[in-house]
Symmetry: C2
Subunit: 166 residues, 2 copies
């Protein structure tokens, strides 16, 4: 199965894709970021995000998506911007009938590193190790997205998980 | 010109429409609410909001939209839900190439009642008066949306306003 991890944002959206046959057989397909330009009106940036992400979904054809659950940042304006973008990403997933999981940052870090307080560097190290990559995945948003995809592959392949996919 | 006012929300979205030839000639066309069911998954509700609102835009054909700027509520979960929905509403406006204004609640209340701290009841009274309605517009979300539409008609017709419409 193919799992797409999504690290939501307004300026930068991290995307990471893995293919997985079992919890011990998870292979990285690709990782990348979508970006929008800071100077443009919010509605135009949302249109760009929705169009680019929809196009990506049509090409990538994931069986499952994993999008990080959002917590409030100290900067409320930034948090609202992310929520606006996250709404458009969830919309595109629903429009493409792609089921999704929404782990919290704690759930994600616990599942992929065993440490709920893991740093970004630890996550990158673990991704390189688990996915047998020659170099650490970068930038941070793409590495986080790859970790989200691995989280989905572990959850989907775990018989103890009551994850029902269509 | 036709102006659409939008009071954003996840469970209830207020819509109000006015036609206006000048600041002294503003007529109410209609006011209504779109609703989504609380029990359903967030992504499904966003898809429903985007589909219903896009359909409404195609029928209503507004020249200008006015969508309230959001401030953080005490309940952060509610605020995030509203931001997710508001993102999908802004997306639909951009997809239909409809220009929009985003007044703060203070700007809205000041412009339509002369009192930045006006209550919902005062706004309803003023709408009934300005638009020569026989009864006060209800529910609150629709009355707020009508006030937003009036705000847009006043702004668009004010020669002092540097409002550039396509």
């Amino acid at each position: 199965m193919r799992v797409l991890g999504i690290d939501p944002g307004l300026a930068t959206i991290g995307l990471g894709v893995v293919d997985s046959a079992s919890p011990s057989d998870i292979r990285a397909v690709e990782w990348l970021v979508l970006r929008t330009k800071p100077g443009r009106p919010l509605a135009d940036r949302l249109r760009e995000i929705h169009a680019d992400f929809s196009e990506y979904l049509a090409e990538c054809k994931p069986d499952l998506a994993v999008i990080e659950r959002q917590f409030f940042a100290k900067n409320e304006t930034t948090a609202m911007d992310v929520s606006h973008a996250r709404g458009c990403l969830l919309l595109a997933l629903a429009q493409h009938d792609i089921p999704h999981l929404e782990p919290t940052p704690l759930q994600l870090k616990s599942a992929v590193t065993g440490d709920g307080k893991a740093s970004k560097a630890q996550i990158q190290d673990m991704m390189a190790l688990m996915l047998r990559l020659e170099t650490k995945p970068t930038p941070d948003d793409a590495a986080d997205a790859l970790a989200l995809a691995v989280y989905g592959a572990l959850r989907a392949n775990d018989p103890a998980t009551a994850l029902v996919l269509p």
